[in-house]
């Protein structure tokens, strides 16, 4: 196989943006029948490379070949026609259209000039059936969660008769179950005439799915390693250019907060939280200095709990802060009561995409940064610069527009916004979505040290290792109910999954699980 | 084709005297007829004339800006039909101090500055319309579709009419007065609504061309042609046709062409330092089926 020309090859690729050399003489070659992982830190240039391969950008230098013949797609459509199908890191969906309409946009079946929506829906349903994705083709995309949207993107990419499937962090929004589904889909897809390029920050996934790993660093090609014979730590070392300890719960943090639950005062107490749609009498307590994890499958209702607490959605139930019952009608009330929420959907609920880093970082803290009614922009820039340093946000300057940052760096900007606001209770929903291994570790360290300083943190995460790594206790949800609360010391992935799939569990279990 | 109205590209730069006219309107047939009269006079007296006016008769501020620009062009004389006479006083004074004679037209300016005023007596003209309406319907309910509620002309066209009816025709009752901006379609809709609310309505008076045509349209569309007495104001082909077809009983016409002509003529006289009468009446006429083709009437009707 190694003698035949590569399925897809890029040589000497360079691409610059104002102030950033995103790619500099990068190589990549994808063989027939393989899954090639593409890894690198946030801002390393992975997404940019994929956009070049899919015709969204044109390279300044370098050549691309498909099956040995040169190619230079002039646009996404042409790339599709060449057999290249892409799932981008940022979704490209039309929220007002239905799932089926989104998937087949630009390829609507027609009769006598009229679109046959029934046929469209039939095809979408068949596609979902084939892929094992439980989505209703007629639902508007705006009704979907991020995970649902991700599934639509995946289905859309697979609806083409593609030879090269490119996936840019497709699992960032998915829980383990859906990841398993996705991997099954990928394995089904791979054949001697096809290949997959797979971008992820999750090393275990890379390990599991890929045949070889191409590493980028700072827009430059580092190496391509065979997955089977390379240890994860070697990959990471290639990515960050140094050795790094990851995945282990640091002893210090564990010691500092393992016993966090007992004896400390309750900062946030939630009882009987219900919504019309999903939540049923959710109750739990959060102590000072504690990190409380929330685990569950996609759609279990973890995000909804957070949104209910901060008043973004209507709900019934009692929320007490520091023992005082509070009425939270909107997120502003929540912030006033010291509760901040970092959303899982950074594009929709996190960022001012067309504003710069400074304004994004200042957004939650503006009133505190005024003097005599005037905003102190110098202070804002100072704080933003500090955050850029502290979180290693890769940006040419603090006045860079948010939408020009790489996905992971955008996520860091949102996190920075809440760090600056300094809430007593911080709810972080998928806080490390799209963040690279190195930075992930730093963020874990950051959250742990915040807790050590007496802040209380709720971590909602679909990555079980993340929850296990961070949380003192873990609340597990299923179908809008709390099915159990585990102390981290005795929790295993298996325990969590067991609770997360306890469908239709009886009430008593909920209550025993909810209160300790 | 670009120079059709102004004549040359640089008014005032040539040897011809330059007269700037700032009117109350532009697109309406009436104002176009005034413009035509002014252009006629300009050709005859060998002067340059520009003619401008705001889109509707409510745009006092726009008109002031036009007046300002006209003055900046340093004309030899200025013709001005004020939408609001008080608002323009400072500029009138300015014109006077710069020795630019001002001729008021269509309606007066409350100022000593204008050397003469060429105008139609709107109150008297609309009373004339009322007189014919009263004669034609004898008794019963009538209504008015007005074109503008706030301008002096718009108000006087209603006022003169109403006053006459109140004073001279006790058996005639004005049951409704509605304004529709002189827009043909909206006037038609308004007239229809009035007819709907007053099935026994005997006559409608439309206070300008657009209103009158709208009323005719409404009568036509609701199949009441011949059952209602329609009286209009101004002329234009649609109105003269309606009169010929018996859809409209008659209308008042002013003599806009004469108004434009006299204004420019007075301006030229003023430039040459002649004495002028304080008021030049441009007159108005009642016309109907019987006299529409008379020479005197046909001359003042415009298409």
């Amino acid at each position: 196989m190694s003698d035949s020309p590569a399925l897809l090859r890029a040589t000497g690729i360079s691409k610059s943006f104002p102030g950033v050399r995103a790619l500099d003489d990068v190589h990549l070659d994808l063989r027939h029948g393989e899954v090639l992982a593409l890894v690198g830190e946030n801002g390393a240039g992975k997404s940019t490379l994929l956009k070049l391969l899919s015709g969204i950008y044109r390279p300044e230098e370098g050549t691309m070949e498909l099956d040995g013949s040169p190619m230079s797609p002039t646009g996404p459509r042409q790339a599709n026609e060449l057999g290249i199908s892409v799932i981008h890191q940022e979704f490209h969906l039309m929220p007002d259209l239905t799932v089926a309409q989104n998937i087949f946009i630009g390829r609507e079946p027609r009769r006598a000039g009229l679109i046959r929506d029934d046929e469209l829906e039939r095809r979408a349903a068949a596609l979902f059936e084939r892929l094992g994705i439980p989505l209703d083709p007629r639902q508007p995309v705006s009704h979907l969660s991020v995970a649902g949207q991700q599934m639509v993107e995946i289905a859309k990419a697979l609806s083409f008769d593609a030879r090269v499937l490119i996936m840019d962090e497709p699992t960032a929004a998915l829980t383990e179950t859906e990841v398993a589904t996705l991997f099954r889909i990928v394995r089904d897809f791979v054949s001697p005439r096809t290949g997959v390029i797979y971008v992820s920050h999750r090393m275990d996934e890379v390990k599991e799915i890929s045949d070889r790993i191409t590493v980028l660093r700072d827009g430059r090609y580092v190496d391509t390693l065979p997955t089977a014979s390379t240890a994860t730590r070697e990959v990471i070392a290639a990515m960050v250019g140094r050795q790094l300890e990851t995945g282990v719960r640091p002893d210090a943090a564990a010691a500092g907060s393992a016993s966090g639950a007992d004896g400390r005062e309750v900062v946030l107490s939630v009882s009987g939280l219900s919504t019309r749609k999903l939540l049923k009498a959710v109750s739990f307590e959060l102590h000072r200095g504690e990190i409380l994890g929330f685990a569950g499958l996609m759609g279990a209702g973890r995000t909804e709990v957070a949104r209910a607490i901060i008043g973004a959605d209507r709900s019934t139930g009692v929320v007490e802060v520091n023992g005082r019952r509070v009425t939270v009608r909107n997120p502003a009330d929540a912030v006033r009561n010291g509760i901040g929420y970092l959303s899982e959907d950074r594009k929709r609920y996190g960022l001012l995409l067309d504003q710069d880093v400074v304004r994004n970082v200042m957004l939650s803290s503006l009133p505190g940064m005024t003097r005599g009614g005037f905003v102190r922009d110098t202070e804002g820039r100072r704080v933003a610069a500090e955050m850029v340093d502290r979180l290693a946000i890769r940006t040419p300057s603090v006045t860079q527009t948010a939408k020009n940052l790489s996905g992971g760096n955008q996520q860091k900007v949102v996190l920075a916004k809440w760090l600056v606001r300094d809430c007593d209770v911080l709810i972080v929903d998928e806080p490390t979505r799209g963040i690279d291994v190195g930075a992930k570790d730093e963020i874990y360290g950051l959250l742990t040290s915040l807790a050590a300083q007496g802040k209380s943190i709720i971590v909602i995460s679909s990555e079980l290792p993340e929850v296990l790594r961070l949380a003192d206790r873990i609340v597990v949800m299923c179908e809008g109910r709390v099915t159990g609360t585990l102390a981290n010391a005795d929790a295993t992935q298996h325990d969590i999954m067991e609770l997360a799939t306890r469908f239709g569990a009886d009430r008593s279990l909920v209550t025993t699980g909810g209160a300790e | 084709a670009c120079g059709s109205g102004g004549g040359g590209s640089e008014p005032g730069a040539g040897d011809k005297p330059y007269v700037a006219l700032v009117s109350k309107g532009f697109q309406h047939q009436f104002w176009q007829a005034v413009k035509q009269g002014a252009d006629d006079a300009a050709a005859e007296l060998d002067v340059e004339v520009t003619f401008e006016g705001p889109e509707t008769e409510t745009e006092v501020e726009k008109q002031l800006t036009m007046l300002q620009t006209a003055l900046d062009k340093n004309p030899d004389a200025l013709g001005y039909a004020a939408l609001d006479s008080e608002a323009s006083i400072p500029m009138m004074t300015d014109a006077e101090s710069r020795g630019i004679p001002v001729i008021a037209f269509d309606s007066g300016v409350e100022s000593e500055v204008p050397v003469t005023t060429v105008s139609t007596d709107n109150l008297a003209a609309s009373a004339e319309a009322a007189k014919h309406m009263a004669e034609l319907v004898g008794s019963g309910k009538i209504a008015i579709v007005g074109h503008d509620q706030t301008s002096q002309t718009g108000q006087q066209r209603v006022e003169g009419f109403t006053q006459y009816i109140e004073e001279n025709a006790p058996d005639v009752e004005i049951v409704d007065t509605q304004f529709a901006g002189g827009d043909h379609l909206k006037s038609a809709d308004a007239a229809k609504a009035i007819m709907q609310a007053h099935p026994d309505l005997k006559g409608i008076y439309g206070t300008n061309e657009g209103s009158a045509i709208g009323v005719v349209k409404a009568v036509q569309e609701s199949g009441k042609a011949g059952k209602l007495t329609v009286i209009g104001f101004d002329s234009g082909k649609a109105q003269t046709d309606a009169i010929r077809d018996g859809l409209m009983a008659g209308a008042i016409t002013q003599d806009p062409i004469k108004m434009g002509y006299e204004t420019v003529k007075a301006a030229v006289a003023a430039i040459e330092g002649e004495e002028l009468e304080p008021v030049v009446d441009s007159g108005f006429y009642w016309y109907d089926e019987t006299n529409i083709d008379d020479e005197e009437i046909a001359a003042v009707l415009y298409e």
């Binding site: 981008h88 007002d96 959605d313 | 509620q149």
Partner: protein, 332 residues
């Protein structure tokens, strides 16, 4: 807090958007505003609920309504079309030139009027797509140009169709006895617009562009070209409105048209189409146009003085739209 409408419970099973029939039926029945307004006037005045008057309302809706149909497409893309009012006038005038001045056959003149409308739309589309002008600017400029050209071409005088046999019957005739053709044309145009919006690529891409222009482009739709198509389609409706207007007045009035654009856009927005784009319904637009015409008619029938009419219309619009928002909030 304002996000409730966008997330739905997992329980909600596939609303039948196919042909949108159920949803749309509901929309007719439940369109609170129009129903309440109609009921109110029927009680308030004995003259209101009467076929002659309803016909009057329909006739008053026709021209603005047709314009609003076109505007719906542009608004669906997230754009705005300020040129519909004076554009309509230019189409009237050109129809006059074709029929009255050049003496072309009726059909040719009418098609000519429509073609001018399409041309106006085409230019708007090109300006928006290829010069990347904001739609507000492109169509504002067109609004001015069309107004000026109407005056220039007509010599600022109305063009009469008195000598063009049968032209006035286009609007005033009654193919269906009792129903003026203008109304018939409006309904037919609405039906065509409805199908175009929901069943053709033009409509689908209009909504898609309005929903997320970048994503639509990335999905391989030639957004620029389709925008030109969409604006041109909108222009066709402007042309149709111009022809109907001319026929109804049996003349082309070059000074008319300014202000109609706001009425048309208002009808669209009252009908529930979002100015942000992505969401549009033709039925809504028709209902919106009817609401506007009914209100004006009813208040006039009640002899409310014009100054109070304005106040009343303003307040009723707020209430009607608010009622609609509440209704839809309930639904979700």
């Amino acid at each position: 807090m304002t996000t409730t409408s966008t997330t739905t419970g997992p329980a909600k099973k596939g609303p039948a958007t196919r042909f949108g029939s159920r949803q749309q039926l509901q929309q007719i029945l439940a369109f609170a505003g129009l129903v309440v307004i109609f009921a109110f006037f029927s009680f308030a005045s004995p003259y209101f609920l009467d076929w002659a008057n309803v016909k009057g309302i329909l006739l008053a809706t026709a021209v603005t309504g047709i314009m609003a149909l076109g505007a719906t497409f542009v608004i669906a893309t997230g754009g705005i079309d300020l040129s519909v009012g004076t554009g309509m006038t230019l189409c009237s005038v050109m129809t006059g030139v074709f029929l009255a001045n050049l003496g072309l056959p009726l059909v040719v003149g009418v098609l000519g009027g429509l073609a001018i409308g399409a041309l106006i739309g085409l230019l708007n589309g090109l300006n928006v797509s290829y010069l990347r002008l904001p739609p507000f600017i492109a169509t504002l400029a067109m609004m001015m140009v069309a107004q000026g050209l109407s005056l220039v071409i007509s010599g600022t005088k109305p063009i009469y169709f008195s000598d063009v046999g049968g032209f006035d019957q286009l609007a005033a005739g009654e193919l269906i006895p009792g129903l003026p053709n203008a109304v018939l044309i409006f309904f037919a145009a609405a039906a065509i617009a409805g199908v175009t919006l929901s069943k053709t690529l033009t409509g689908r891409y209009a909504l898609s562009i309005g929903s997320n222009e970048e994503a639509t482009a990335i999905s391989g739709v030639d957004v620029r070209r389709w925008k030109v198509v969409i604006y041109t389609v909108a222009g066709l409706f402007t042309g149709l409105a111009g022809v109907v207007m001319a026929s109804r007045l049996n003349s082309a009035q070059p000074g008319l048209g300014l202000g109609y654009e706001l009425e048309a856009i208002a009808a669209v927005v009252i009908g529930g189409t979002s100015l942000r784009g992505g969401k549009a319904t033709i039925l809504g637009t028709v209902i919106g146009a009817l609401i506007m015409a009914t209100l004006t008619n009813g208040l006039r029938i009640m002899s409310i003085p014009q100054e109070w009419q304005k106040v009343a219309v303003g307040i009723v619009i707020v209430l009607a739209v608010y009622a609609d928002i509440l209704r839809r909030g309930k639904e979700a």
